[in-house]
């Protein structure tokens, strides 16, 4: 089971490697990357250094080209594929069918994974990616229960990768336009959800308000911790009741399911968080490295340690974690 960790910067890449990641995933500093945030990602020089560091430590490099090519921009997405292959990426993670097609035809020997943004949730869809693009692995959206993941793993002709920890996207990834509805920019078209440039924090007499492009997402009293206004995690009114109508500000943590994930032959677990700090990446990677090693050694008696649970909980959004869709009751 591969532990795949986020590297939004050279410092995070090193932190992940030092903490025991088997592989890291990165993206380029452009719109072909679904974490195209200001101040993130790699310049050419940083990229060279990062790759050298990975090679030294026998760690694999995945490059995410996980947005959808604009109608006049295919050349830019193809250039990202060319660049990823040229720098020696071990894996390309791709979402757009046309980009997948280009990569599969141009570089038949390169290992391709279907990005979570490709929204592959069932066996027939996996077959589509395997038959057409010879995809070796699919990354599952965070919408399936553990039972559904098991059913899929049993019949899938491709390897399965699942999200293990980090921000919880509650929609089928790659098919959520809520962000462009409110801001004009979505993960698919602009590489970011609820982009920071639209965020505003307003101090008012009745509390701190968070806005996204002028829309009130939430309002916090003095004793509440104000979170980032990701639009699906606000408190809204439905039928006169005010609550987190879509989802609470919480993070996914599937560590207690590790023995099951291992037993069903999941090939890799992914840690979300290319936008997070190197310290975060280091702590989360360390926790998961220990957990995977402990689980491999003694799967029948595996239980996350209290310290690990506490550490992961402290690092998460709103200091809360959930099993998300893996646990049926969450739905």
């Amino acid at each position: 089971m591969e532990l795949l960790c986020p590297a939004g910067s050279l410092a995070s890449l090193k932190a992940a490697v030092d903490a025991g990641a088997d592989a890291v995933y990165i993206g380029f500093k452009d719109e072909t990357n679904a974490r195209h945030f200001a101040g993130l990602n790699f310049t050419e020089r940083q990229l060279e250094k990062g790759i050298a560091y990975l090679r030294q430590h026998n760690c694999r490099l995945h490059v995410a080209i996980n947005t959808f090519a604009h109608p006049d921009g295919m050349a830019r997405w193809q250039a990202s594929v060319d660049k990823a292959v040229a720098i020696g990426a071990d894996v390309l993670i791709i979402a757009d069918l046309a980009v997948l097609n280009y990569c599969a035809k141009t570089y038949p020997d390169v290992e391709i994974h279907a990005s979570v943004q490709a929204s592959v949730t069932n066996a027939a869809a996996i077959n589509f990616f395997v038959d057409n693009f010879n995809v070796k692995r699919v990354v599952l959206p965070r919408v399936l229960s553990i039972h559904q993941v098991r059913q899929l793993a049993r019949v899938s002709p491709a390897e399965i990768e699942v999200f293990a920890y980090g921000s919880l996207c509650i929609m089928a990834e790659g098919r959520c336009y809520l962000s462009s509805y409110l801001t004009g920019e979505s993960p698919n078209t602009a590489g970011a959800c609820s982009p920071a440039k639209f965020v505003e924090y307003k101090e008012t007499d009745t509390g701190l308000e968070t806005h996204l492009n002028g829309i009130l997402i939430d309002k916090f009293t003095d004793d509440e911790k104000a979170g980032y206004p990701t639009l699906c995690k606000g408190r809204f009114d439905v039928g006169g009741e005010l609550y987190h109508a879509l989802e609470e500000p919480t993070s996914l943590n599937s560590m207690e399911m590790l023995p099951q994930l291992m037993q069903m032959g999941i090939s890799a677990i992914k840690i979300e968080g290319r936008q997070r700090s190197p310290a975060y990446v280091s702590q989360v990677t360390t926790s998961w490295r220990h957990a995977i090693d402990a689980c491999k050694a003694n799967p029948d008696n595996f239980k996350p340690s209290v310290e690990t649970e506490q550490c992961l909980s402290n690092l998460s959004e709103g200091s809360q974690t959930t099993l998300g869709a893996y646990h049926k009751k969450w739905k």
Partner: protein, 293 residues
């Protein structure tokens, strides 16, 4: 220009669905999409009921297309999809790549609905090679984006082999989740949903704390809070768009269809409702915005 009625996105009682399609049969709509696309637990109508309605509409001179689910998670979801893809009487609208896989394996022609990610001419071209005959673009794309795709040299010799459709009226489907938000709004999980969507024939409105109508929740689907309405943009669609889709609402859908037809050349414009309608996506801005057309 042809006009289409999209699948009913809400959960209506069987009688209401059948009554609606009786009126549709008498209307002058060209294409009708039928079927459940949101949640596999909604079983007021079985496949044979949909096929009966399809047959009646066909006899009334309509082109009928069977719409399929957008989010398929279980082997039984796939088994149901397969039943639709295996019948040969009506064309199927794929709303997930799984349906494209099943239909292209059999060499059957199909339509692609707005829930399938297709952002460029190369992807359209790939779908044409698989058997796509009609394509509805993702709702978040603009007129300009669509024009660039349609006019791409890659598609120059293929433009006659497929139709271009645009979602032009109704609350837009914006996201699909594992979670049922309607059940959640009644404090229940999806497993114990009691099929409560049937109580909300237009979904449930989600308002911000300052009373902005943000979204509509419709089971596992999150929709736009405002109705998309491109009635005043039909003239600009000539040459690019072949089919205009109206999404069935709980009231006045067929009246709206008449209004659309009347304004096809821009001769009978109707100002958009300031508080309930939007058209931003078409103009490449926030979807929720209303742009003066």
């Amino acid at each position: 220009m042809k006009y289409a009625l999209g699948p009913i996105l809400y959960y209506w009682p069987k009688q209401r669905v059948e009554d609606f399609y009786k009126l549709v049969a008498q209307s002058d709509v060209d294409i009708v999409y039928l079927g459940e696309t949101v949640c596999s637990k909604r079983r007021e109508l079985k496949i044979k009921d949909w096929l009966n309605i399809a047959q009646t509409l066909l006899e009334a001179g309509k082109q009928v297309c069977l719409s399929t689910m957008a989010l398929l998670e279980t082997p039984s979801d796939l088994a149901m999809l397969k039943r639709y893809c295996d019948q040969k009487d009506f064309m199927v609208e794929a709303n997930d790549l799984s349906a494209i896989q099943l239909l292209s394996e059999q060499g059957l022609p199909f339509a692609i609905g707005p829930a399938v990610n297709c952002y460029n001419a190369q992807t359209v071209d790939l779908f044409i090679s698989k058997g796509m005959k009609r394509w509805a673009m993702p709702v978040e794309l603009s007129h300009e984006w669509l024009r660039k795709i349609v006019r791409d040299p890659l598609l120059k010799d293929k433009r006659d082999s497929f139709e271009v459709e645009v979602f032009a009226y109704g609350n837009m489907p914006l996201a699909y989740s594992a979670r049922c938000f309607t059940a959640r709004s009644e404090n229940r999980s999806k497993d114990e949903c009691k099929l409560c969507c049937i109580e909300y024939p237009e979904g449930r409105t989600v308002n911000s704390q300052d009373k902005n109508q943000l979204f509509v929740i419709n089971g596992i689907q999150t929709m736009s809070g405002l109705k998309y309405n491109l009635i005043n943009d039909l003239k600009s669609m000539h040459g690019t768009v072949d089919v205009v889709r109206l999404s069935p609402q709980s009231e006045d859908t067929l009246k709206m269809l008449e209004n659309f037809r009347a304004n096809e050349s821009g001769l009978a414009p109707i100002p958009l409702d300031k508080s309930d309608e939007c058209n931003g996506y078409w103009y490449k801005v926030e979807g929720m915005i209303q742009v003066e057309s």
